[in-house]
């Protein structure tokens, strides 16, 4: 900051905000403010902060008398561009500092900011841009995000060489793991303990807070509680803070001696960032300890720690031309200017690197927004509408925030929990059954902010509710874990004796059970009670793509739904009992690497993930308000409305970059097909059953017919049928179709001349036993003989056909004469039923 202060002080005249300091977080803003206030006071410069928490009075003051240095967030920059006075002040900007830029550049917020900086340029001319980033694999890309095609320089501070990392195994039990944390923070001065979820932070806090020198810090706590914890830590009143990513970014809370990471950090960048909080000075060593909590976790931690020391940080991948950001910024420019030539917008965009090649996406976005009445188009200009401002104030941020829905028990009228919006969008319809708090619930009604439910009995198709998105483990890390499982050179990775003992225990148990250990060269398909577990070290995104592609092919071939759950090392396919690991293997080998993306596109639309992303993107396009009422519309039929639209395109772009890696999945498949990776089938192993699946979805059969045929099969199987021997005429049996043999035989005479009679025709059996028959009775006999002859020649197939609704011997023989097989056979039955219903029934 000092060179900037110098520049500000030597400027002839300052007007407006001379410098902007942009950070991703409000807490970081507050922290920067307290650090810069002293300097600015001494130097006679004014400083202010402006973000969501800033009071109206403060905001007004800033409008009347802008501070020289303004600390703010990317979203507040967006809102400032809406006001004419503030725009003037932004016209004075000479320096922009973007702190923790890696955090922004990785997502849509960064794209939005890149465009915003170019919009400021329109008022301020060129200004100096400074980005402050954590260690990333590709600093040039981050530079392009900040500067576009302008020349820039990168100043790198080596981090890896200053890292001192240690991986410990925390034991199987939570109590023991907490003791390990206590050991690790003992006698080390001040420590940060990073955990991956809020609930774990709370659980550890529950154990350690009674010590008196530990506090918890995470995003669900109130601002006051967090600030209090930060203060007491920086004053040395407490020595340890248990925190989530809330403390990851550079909030200055004084000196930190040591960082503990509880559980695998999931990727290298995160580990370096977190451990980098310790000894945060250029001449100091950053010391960190990872306490691992299971087999996957331990190996993953070893691999990540080693990759960190080797400086193999993951690259930041900025989204390329995200259409929803383009739409958002077009609306923003329309509101800012009232009206604007499209060429001007294109020029602004062309300077912002992530959207510089947006081409026709810009025109498509504009047409789509016109449809949502955010803008009007007149010739080559766009004009804002009345809706645009309202849209923009609710869509300043590209962060998708999820609404929470209360779950209300209809019986007791009590709230029993909450559901995330993504779960509601993806799964909830009236009648749907889901699990929460270990119980089954059936949805009765979807209200504006709540779901009413009743306790449900056991049924199929239920799903556990989930919360939040997980941090993905990269392909390279998962692959190296697979290699480590194969080479077993754990000591080279710095495993200590406890860790080694644990690993060896697991591996020898695997050997004892004769279950091979899946590695980077061996994929194990294991049978479990509910389906097949595919052990494959592909990381989250590749496994997600592969698991879904497989599910789609399985669901298409077997006409069944397939449930999937995925993590970095395994894919769990929930399957009907009839589909076995052999079938999965066969389908796996039939899959071609380069077809994965195309296959995924076929069936993504019906999945929960697609629907949720569609809603999120449509909101940013102004098609859906952030507080839209879900009870007013069928979400699942709504998706057709967006077919072929730019919104759909953006959903695919995001799914295939952020959630799934079809390319990596393709490479895994190519290795399998070439034999580099072997595939074996085995019993459920302890590695295979190491659970914690982070993403869940259901792939429904691609063709509606298949779902209908499955329902038909179930109906027919449960159908009552009476079998009667037409040879000796002494035997009859009432049963359900499911229990009938392929070629039923009369137990009395051994004949296979068996008639299949509908339950309501039971008296016909008395008729055929009569010695003398009336002409009508002879007709009955003739009909039964026809039925029996069909069963004699076609076996159970004839009985199935005859069980169809209103299907008599004539219709059944027509069905059998088509020689249709598999689904085709059942389609013929459905056809005969439709014919009966429309032509032969009394209406």
């Amino acid at each position: 900051m000092l060179p900037i202060f110098h520049s500000l002080l030597t400027m002839k005249e300052r007007h407006g905000f001379s410098a902007l300091y942009i950070t991703p977080l409000r807490s970081l803003n507050r922290n920067m403010l307290s650090r810069l206030t002293w300097w600015c006071g001494e130097l006679g410069l004014s400083v202010g902060v402006r973000h969501g928490d800033t009071t109206m009075a403060e905001r007004r003051k800033q409008v009347l008398k802008p501070p020289d240095l303004l600390i703010t967030t990317p979203e507040t920059v967006q809102s400032m561009m809406m006001g004419s006075r503030l725009r003037q002040h932004l016209g004075g900007v000479r320096h922009v500092i973007v702190d923790e830029i890696h955090e922004l550049a990785d997502g849509k917020r960064g794209v939005q900011l890149a465009i915003a900086l170019e919009r400021i340029c329109e008022y301020a001319g060129e200004f100096q841009r400074i980005g402050i980033s954590a260690t990333v694999g590709n600093p040039e890309t981050v530079g392009y995000c900040l500067c576009g095609r302008r020349p820039f320089a990168i100043v790198e501070v080596p981090v890896a060489s200053r890292l001192s990392l240690q991986v410990l195994f925390g034991g199987d039990r939570f109590d023991g793991q907490v003791e390990k944390i206590e050991d690790a923070i003992q006698g080390r001065g001040s420590s940060l303990v990073f955990v991956n979820t809020r609930s774990v932070a709370e659980a550890i806090g529950h154990h350690l807070i009674p010590r008196g020198d530990v506090e918890v810090h995470h995003g669900s706590l109130s601002k006051e509680v967090r600030i209090d914890a930060e203060d007491r830590f920086s004053k040395g009143q407490i020595r340890t803070l248990v925190c989530t990513s809330s403390m990851e970014l550079g909030i200055d809370i004084g000196h930190i001696d040591h960082v503990v990471q509880f559980g695998s950090p999931r990727d290298v960048a995160r580990l370096i960032q977190r451990v980098g909080r310790a000894g945060h000075r250029i001449d100091q060593i950053s010391r960190g300890t990872i306490i691992a909590t299971g087999f996957d976790d331990l190996l993953e931690s070893l691999v990540i720690a080693r990759r960190a020391v080797l400086n193999k940080t993951e690259p930041v991948v900025p989204p390329c031309c995200p259409a929803d950001v383009i739409a958002n910024q077009v609306a923003a420019i329309a509101v800012e200017r009232g009206e604007c030539g499209i060429e001007t917008i294109r020029k602004i965009f062309s300077r912002a690197w992530p959207v510089s090649d947006c081409g026709s996406l810009l025109d498509d976005s504009i047409s789509r927004m016109e449809e949502h009445r955010l803008i009007r188009r007149e010739g080559d200009r766009i004009i804002k509408t009345g809706r645009a401002r309202k849209y923009l104030t609710t869509n300043l941020s590209m962060i998708t925030d999820e609404r929470k829905f209360r779950i209300i028990d209809y019986v007791t009228r009590r709230t029993i929990g909450t559901l995330d919006e993504s779960f509601v969008v993806g799964w909830i319809h009236t009648g749907a059954v889901f699990i929460t708090r270990g119980r089954l619930w059936r949805v009765l009604e979807v209200l504006e902010d709540a779901i009413t439910v009743e306790p449900a009995p056991k049924s199929m198709g239920e799903l556990p509710s989930w919360e939040g998105e997980q941090i993905p483990v990269p392909f390279e890390v998962a692959e190296e874990v697979g290699r480590l499982r194969r080479t077993r050179n754990f000591s080279e990775y710095g495993a200590d004796d406890d860790s080694l003992a644990y690993i060896n225990r697991i591996l020898s148990e695997m050997e004892k059970n004769r279950t091979p250990v899946p590695t980077d060269r061996l994929v194990m398909l294991e049978h479990s009670k509910e389906g097949v577990i595919m052990n494959i070290c592909g990381g989250h995104k590749a496994n997600e793509a592969l698991g879904r592609a497989l599910s789609i092919l399985i669901s298409a071939r077997y006409g069944t739904s397939v449930g999937i759950e995925v993590n970095a090392y395994r894919i769990f396919l929930r399957l009907p009992k009839t589909v076995r690991a052999q079938d999965v293997r066969e389908i796996l080998f039939s899959l071609e690497g380069e077809h994965v993306e195309a296959i995924l596109k076929i069936a993504m639309k019906k999945t929960a993930l697609y629907k949720w992303k569609l809603v999120a993107v449509a909101k940013k396009f102004g098609a859906i308000d952030s507080d839209a009422e879900y009870d007013k519309i069928s979400l699942h039929r709504l998706s057709e409305h967006f077919d072929g639209s730019i919104i759909e395109e953006e959903v695919y772009r995001e799914l295939f970059s952020r959630y799934m890696d079809a390319g990596a999945a393709g490479r895994l498949i190519t290795r399998i097909r070439s034999g580099d990776t072997e595939v074996q089938i085995g019993a459920l192993s302890i590695i295979g059953s190491e659970g914690l699946f982070s993403s869940r979805d259901l792939i429904a059969p691609p063709d509606m017919d298949q779902a209908v045929i499955a329902a038909l099969k179930r109906r027919l199987n449960a159908q009552e049928v009476i079998l009667a021997c037409m040879h000796c005429r002494k035997w009859k049996r009432k049963t359900i179709l499911e229990r009938v043999e392929e070629h039923p035989e009369c137990p009395k005479c051994g004949a296979r001349l068996i008639a299949a009679v509908k339950p309501y025709e039971e008296e016909n059996i008395q008729i055929i036993r009569k010695k003398t028959k009336t002409p009508e009775e002879k007709d009955v006999e003739k009909k039964m003989l026809r039925s029996a002859n069909m069963v004699l020649s076609s076996g159970k197939r004839a009985i199935i056909a005859l069980a169809g609704r209103g299907v008599g011997p004539d219709a059944a023989s027509r069905i059998l004469a088509t020689h249709a097989h598999g689904d085709g056979f059942y389609k013929e039955i459905l056809k005969a039923e439709r014919k009966y219903i429309t032509t032969h029934r009394f209406w």
Partner: protein, 254 residues
Amino acid sequence: MIPRFLSEGPALLLKRSISVLVVADTHLGVESALDSAGWHLKSSSESRLQRILNCIEVTDPDLLLILGDLKHSVPRITWQEHTELPEFLDAIRRNVDLRLLPGNHDPGIERYMEAEEILNKNGVIIDGTGYLHGHTYPSPDLAGHLIVAGHHHPVIHLYDEVGCSLRGTPAYLLSEVNEKKLRMVETDTPTRLLLVPAFYEYAGGIDIRTIPESGISPLSRSIRIDTAEVFLQDGTYIDTLGSLRSEAHYRPSA
């Protein structure tokens, strides 16, 4: 009488001495109501009209019967409805005679229709079949007939061993009714009810399994569950409602 199921509607053609094309719950102008609920979709009235005209073209009926909820907004008519309804109705009239059984969303529709086009909201008998929208008690005259009704927006979810294999697809429900619950006298031939799915494509619909308890109409309470039958929009028979509601339905299929 011979029915023909038109899945491209969903619509139903009923033929006896004349042929009647039946369409239920078009909810024209729903987009402006959705607009205030936070869903900003362009009007689909034109595409709904094309679907209706298409059904008329393939069936060449003597009469188009709209089973109520022709328009969406109550109690006031929206600008969207005011501008779209006249052309929509004229386009139909150019092809076929039109009748409406007014539904709970139809107050104010008189402005846009001829008096003889609007039938008694409690139901009428046309060519031996009873018709009404379905939010009211049916007229006692309908006893002993097949009663064709809209209003309920029935949809079905199908499940297999693993999960929901088909979600929210429009469906028909055919059922005998308990006449007492409809304040009707019992007749020699049973009174039967056919619930027609909504033509309007964004309808979330009511899970057909829950219609009897939904309490949304007298008709819904009168359904005889065990023997009621469920059909898809192309007339494919699925199962009895009793069986679909039973636990056994969730057993694995072979």
